[in-house]
Subunit: 284 residues, 4 copies
Amino acid sequence: MAHLTILIHCKDQKGIIASVTNFILENEGNTTYIDQHVDAVANVFFMRLECVFEQADFNTAKFKTAFKEKLATPFEMQWQLYPATQKLKMAIFVSKYDHCLYDILGRYNAGELNVDIPFIISNHNDLAHIAANFDIPFYHIPVTKDTKAAAEQEQLKLLKAHQVDFIVLARYMQIVTPTVINEFPYRIINIHHSFLPAFVGAKPYHAAFARGVKIIGTTSHYVTEELDAGPIIEQDTIRVTHSHTIPDLIAKGRDLEKIVLSRAIKLHAQHKCFVYSNKTIIFT
Amino acid sequence: MAHLTILIHCKDQKGIIASVTNFILENEGNTTYIDQHVDAVANVFFMRLECVFEQADFNTAKFKTAFKEKLATPFEMQWQLYPATQKLKMAIFVSKYDHCLYDILGRYNAGELNVDIPFIISNHNDLAHIAANFDIPFYHIPVTKDTKAAAEQEQLKLLKAHQVDFIVLARYMQIVTPTVINEFPYRIINIHHSFLPAFVGAKPYHAAFARGVKIIGTTSHYVTEELDAGPIIEQDTIRVTHSHTIPDLIAKGRDLEKIVLSRAIKLHAQHKCFVYSNKTIIFT
Amino acid sequence: MAHLTILIHCKDQKGIIASVTNFILENEGNTTYIDQHVDAVANVFFMRLECVFEQADFNTAKFKTAFKEKLATPFEMQWQLYPATQKLKMAIFVSKYDHCLYDILGRYNAGELNVDIPFIISNHNDLAHIAANFDIPFYHIPVTKDTKAAAEQEQLKLLKAHQVDFIVLARYMQIVTPTVINEFPYRIINIHHSFLPAFVGAKPYHAAFARGVKIIGTTSHYVTEELDAGPIIEQDTIRVTHSHTIPDLIAKGRDLEKIVLSRAIKLHAQHKCFVYSNKTIIFT
Amino acid sequence: MAHLTILIHCKDQKGIIASVTNFILENEGNTTYIDQHVDAVANVFFMRLECVFEQADFNTAKFKTAFKEKLATPFEMQWQLYPATQKLKMAIFVSKYDHCLYDILGRYNAGELNVDIPFIISNHNDLAHIAANFDIPFYHIPVTKDTKAAAEQEQLKLLKAHQVDFIVLARYMQIVTPTVINEFPYRIINIHHSFLPAFVGAKPYHAAFARGVKIIGTTSHYVTEELDAGPIIEQDTIRVTHSHTIPDLIAKGRDLEKIVLSRAIKLHAQHKCFVYSNKTIIFT
């Protein structure tokens, strides 16, 4: 028996849904969920599909080979296939702020997040006690201008040793360089404390205060080389007034950051977030 | 050529999506949109599907006959099929409040609502000038306790003469009786000015004020015999404070009523709102 | 008898509230509402106060003279005083979009807006019928590159002849030049269809679509010489998804535009919106 | 030097604001914040005021005596006075759910909550490790039907020994009886996981699911004898769809519960939440 999630994209053309669902049926499986999107401008078809094979001797490898031959090749599909039993391995990078970390680990404990967390990395030691409280290995890798390259190598070593699937920057406060980004394309999730594209860069709450906005926001996005310009996964906003000081904005923002980051993690962990053309398609 | 929307529900079973999309493909059509839901408790499968047949000589009647024979009967489906070109006919019932009426007609003029509006009925004459401004026939059918039964007959006569598909009570302020409801099951949309099931019945803003809530809401639902207890289509809420008087709540509520009612109308007009077990499934 | 609204700002210093409220009491008046704000960085005190004088022979002019001598001069206040009976005169500028105009006039009819509307100006004739339906004079003043200067003179002539207090650009779609702005400093309210400062300038919904944001917004602000950079009065946001096309964003945005603009109008009409340092203080 | 918060309510009458602010000025103090509300129906005036006395030898006791004589008695005020330096003592009652507890303690650590937390009480031992991680005493007081009266006596003993000011039921899951309520009138804050008054009582997420609502909510309120009927402090809501199962609603609701409860705690700790006639006035 197997429960599979399949992601597909290819040139929009006739018969894709029918062909794929029929192929699953022919393999004695059942399609239990399907969501698709067509980018009408680029003429690209996207689909996320879940299917169940109840036969005891179902062979995923064989299914993949047949899928490639019968569907992926003729339709010229890009595709990925994930067994539902296979949890993604998520590394967490933090710095000194604890609110996102507590939130993520609280949800993890409550069974809300379908991931394994092999370790937490931090450039400071401040949050080691939280990792300990939740029984998660904690690696303190200090970062200075001079040691940054070496620190990233150390990070990569850990990431590879634990076969990490994606990284969450839970208010990590350090620029991640292409050295790491290129190893995890669209697999590093950041939380930026503004409603992007407003207030890119450092100190967005200060900038929001200066502009006198009536609403502040938070954005979770994939990290790309261009700062705060990667594909947006999730955003949320909250009202503020002239009476809020910068520390008030920061405190209000923390509530958004926690929730928006966790929503992004869930979407990624369930393979519901697909990147195309520097934007995301969020499957239901 | 034809663009069809098909709604299906039946016992959940293997192969429904594959069979339906394959049937469409065999008929030289293409499935362009699909959304489905499974009620795991009741074991019922629901699907909304859009498909396009580009052949000049496509025959919808023949397709329906074949659909019934090949799919609906073997799978024991309940199903409906709507050509996209066929706009629903929507009658509007109003009383004296004009905000929902202006909002609906403004959207109608802007091309936001995919409906025809054959007429507006009111128990008062106050809003006749709005109907005139938008060039829509207006029928003044007064309702008193004694004339209610006769008034409803007059309403039904108009509704049938114009082959009305569904009715929108845009703050109509009169109880609609089973005489009309039974002719339009799940096809009468009401806007109730509270966050149902809180504050059922008359004067919900007064009740909200008395309870000291910090948020008020609005609910659009299908009208059933039990007052304010029909399937909920759409809801929204807005914050209030202790400083808001009842007239303030009423004014704030008007903004919600307009928007929530219009969203419900759009969902119904696009066949995206399916009633099951006194709840709605809202297709994307 | 008189009901007055007083706005004050001055260097923050001891005893302002006590001195002002006591002065009102000495003049046999009662302070019925007070809201204040201190800009701690700039060390400026702001206050909005409502007071009632029940005596039949209350003389506002005499009160103003005394207020100036006893309070404004010693405390070096900037101040304004408005009798509650004196409605502001609001001119509306429109172009071809009707949704904001319908919304404003609907609220005006419902008694929601405490203003007089002497006229509507448009560079097109399309919305003349709406003005007529609401019995409001409509002036068609076409604007081309070559006639812009002359058109603005014509606008100013009307604005002055009717002693207009403030202007609402209800999706006017034309840049207003300093010729008009300087005559109405912080008294021209615009609605910009983005969550400023994101997507300044033309076609913000197109830009939002291109960036792949998950939330769109709308901003009402005072018009200043720098485009879309004036003090923000009110903002609101709504969720969108990858499945929304640009026309979908435009339709969703219309709902925000109507509501956000009307909220800004109400704040201005009640003298609750005070500009300082290119930001607004919104009194409760 | 002293920074005081004063809460007043009395029959609405002329000159209250002037008299109070003037009295503060005469005592060489400065009013730095004022917010007031008039319940026009009950004819009651409410005010919250902050004032600063910079003199080194300011005597709060003497000020109170004079306040009583010069203001409270003649105006027949009910009043309270709190020095800003005096943090309230907040006891937390929990059961097995940890999300609200983590959230409160995280904010407490971040300096967001202006309270002291002398201890946590629980009827289970499950969350003792969290208390330990945050260095807060934890008392396990089991509650069964038979031991409830004794358990409440033990709770009261602890509450009195630590001079607790107010109690937070952070998903405590037990009915608190009048034995405890009467010792802490309007000083026990509960979080109810529905948008009250909808879904009073047990299993509100199940009830929300059954009714098919499109939005769920959470309510923080003061505990009174009548279940879930006490004065509402704060509420918030979030959208849900037909596709959310009951566990989904519970997970989504957790996010609301955390935030709404924390907001209520902050309001109470800052004396910004005033109860009158089973409703709250929330000062800004």
